[in-house]
């Protein structure tokens, strides 16, 4: 449906307990390309592999920590999301994106 590219204005980083099991389990559920793209836009993409490892038991802790940081610890507080297809902008305010569509956009 809508693919999102991110443009950040204000970003916050909160330290959260690292849970390697959770991160490993989430890997297969993520759209990896979009995730890495978003992480790069936020400046936390360094060290993330371009492609998700095939290995189900991926446990390189350094990389998992970087994924954990990008996934759970970095948050856009104020900013905008832009749909790459339509250019439609969605505001983010106080950390809450407003993704509601107008009636004519549905």
């Amino acid at each position: 449906k809508i693919k999102i590219l991110m443009m950040e204005a204000v970003v916050s980083t909160q330290s959260t307990g690292f849970n390697p099991d959770f991160i490993s389990r989430m890997l297969s559920r993520l759209d990896w390309t979009v995730f890495v793209q978003s992480a790069n836009l936020l400046g936390v993409g360094e060290g993330l592999p371009d492609m998700l490892p095939e290995d189900q038991d991926f446990d390189d802790e350094d990389v998992l920590k970087k994924i954990h940081h990008a996934l759970l610890e970095v948050e856009v507080i104020e900013g905008e999301l832009e749909c790459p297809e339509t250019g439609r902008k969605f505001p983010i305010s106080k950390g809450i994106p407003d993704l509601r569509l107008n009636e004519d956009e549905k």
Binding site: K1, I2, Q14, T16, G17, N19, D21, F22, R25, M26, R29, D31, L72, E75, K94, G95, I96, P97, D98, L99, R100, L101, N102, E103, K106
Partner: protein
């Protein structure tokens, strides 16, 4: 039969004393918590008519687990004696139990008749072979014992009489700490603590699972998951509810303060590390990718009463998006976005006269596990439905209602009607 088997077994038997509310939810919660912790449990004598149930578990440590996690259990007693009359208990030889010199207190719990204190004292004094030689201490005894009596006829003697040491009480601290009366941010749709923790148990929420609520409101359904170390997030069409704008529904408050919002609650409980955030969206617009993602979806969709089923254009009256479509959409969404084995736990309102099991929404990829009714008024109730994703979705799969959906589809109309 099971009773004979249990009596003859060398393993210990325990008497669970449930809270006598939400009767349809109690056994499902107990069985769900057992599944969550891989506890093999046998139960006997459970009924919605009274609060007692005999159980047998492989390991006594499981009893603490049950007491810590179940919100419907008041306390659990180890069964030393079980009789069909008081006389039976009074004459019980207690030959298997060594005499204990600990200080003790004996309490009585009854159902179906209130037993006066003097009668309780007489009863205890009539127990001929009680193996307790220590002092009676009402304030801080070393051990607490229970006599439990069930009456089916208030004018006759009890039909079931149990005696044994108290193993433990259910943790009221959690329900007290998370009581909505004390919560920083609440609204009209906030779910009360006992029910929200019950939902988390029926959803088998465990540490590290990913939970989503697509009708987040004030965020009350994500607090128990966060408490159980589940990473959670949600969405709602009402951005004011998420941000905490507008008039407060709390007594004595005018408008919500800066910190009164979904995130504020998480911060106040120290659970913010598990709260992944929220966004505003119309659930039916399909903002999220339809791929397996969540372990659990817990939610309380609008019934069309308090917070009206909103669409962005706020055109409720002419909206073709009926309540029924909302639930069908929820099942389609859950079937697509739950991982295999994941659970959807949600409430559906019913007009009691119109309800039949065939009026519930179904989906080929979801299996209905539990269906528990909470009566609200003479006319209305709501049902908590627990569904498990038992296979992957294919493109042709769609939710459906086998029978007549008016018991929930017409909920708003019937609720407000004068008849």
């Amino acid at each position: 039969n099971l009773r004979t088997m249990l009596v003859g077994s060398p393993k210990k038997r325990f008497l669970v004393v449930f809270a006598h509310v939400f009767q349809e939810f109690r056994l499902p919660e107990l069985l769900s918590v057992c599944q969550l912790h891989d506890i093999e449990l046998e139960h006997d004598g459970y009924s919605e008519e009274h609060p007692y149930c005999i159980i047998r578990v492989a390991d006594e440590k499981h009893i603490s687990t049950l007491l810590n996690r179940c919100v419907m259990i008041q306390f659990i007693v180890e069964v030393w004696e079980e009789h069909r009359s008081r006389e039976g208990l009074c004459k019980a030889p207690f030959s298997n139990y060594p005499t204990s010199s600990y200080s003790f207190n004996i309490l009585l719990h009854s159902f179906g008749r209130k037993v006066p204190a003097t009668e309780k004292i007489d009863l205890i004094e009539s127990m001929e072979h009680l193996p307790l030689s220590g002092k009676v201490d009402c304030r801080d005894p070393d051990r607490v014992f229970y006599i439990v009596e069930r009456y089916t006829d208030r004018t006759a003697g009890p039909t079931d009489v149990y005696f044994g040491p108290l193993v433990g009480r259910g943790t009221r601290e959690i329900l007290d700490k998370f009581s909505v009366k004390k919560r920083l941010y609440i609204g009209r749709t906030t779910m009360d603590a006992q029910l929200s923790f019950l939902m988390a148990n029926l959803a088998l929420i465990r540490p590290g699972c990913l939970t989503y609520d697509p009708f987040l409101g004030t965020g009350s359904l994500l607090i128990p998951p966060a408490y159980h170390a589940s990473y959670c997030f949600g969405s709602d069409i009402d951005i004011k509810a998420l941000k905490g704008w507008g008039k407060s529904t709390k007594q004595g408050e005018e408008r919500y303060e800066q910190d009164q919002n979904v995130e504020g609650n998480m911060l106040s409980y120290g659970l913010e590390r598990y709260y992944l955030g929220c966004h505003a969206s119309d659930f039916s617009s399909g903002v999220l990718r339809r791929v397996p993602f969540f372990d659990v979806i817990v939610t309380d969709p609008p019934y069309g009463i308090r917070e009206a089923s909103l669409r962005v254009n706020k055109d409720i009256k002419n909206s073709q998006y009926s309540l029924s479509e909302q639930f069908l959409e929820l099942l389609n969404f859950a079937a697509a976005t739950l991982v295999l084995g994941g659970r959807l736990v949600y409430w559906i309102p019913v007009i009691r006269d119109l309800y039949t099991p065939a009026s519930l929404p179904l989906h080929p990829a979801l299996t209905l596990k539990y269906n528990c009714q909470q009566v609200l008024t003479k006319k209305s109730a709501r049902r908590l439905l627990v569904m498990i994703k038992t296979r992957e979705c294919s493109a042709e799969d769609a939710s459906f209602v086998q029978g007549d959906n008016t018991s929930h589809n017409q909920y708003r109309e019937v609720y407000f009607s004068k008849t």
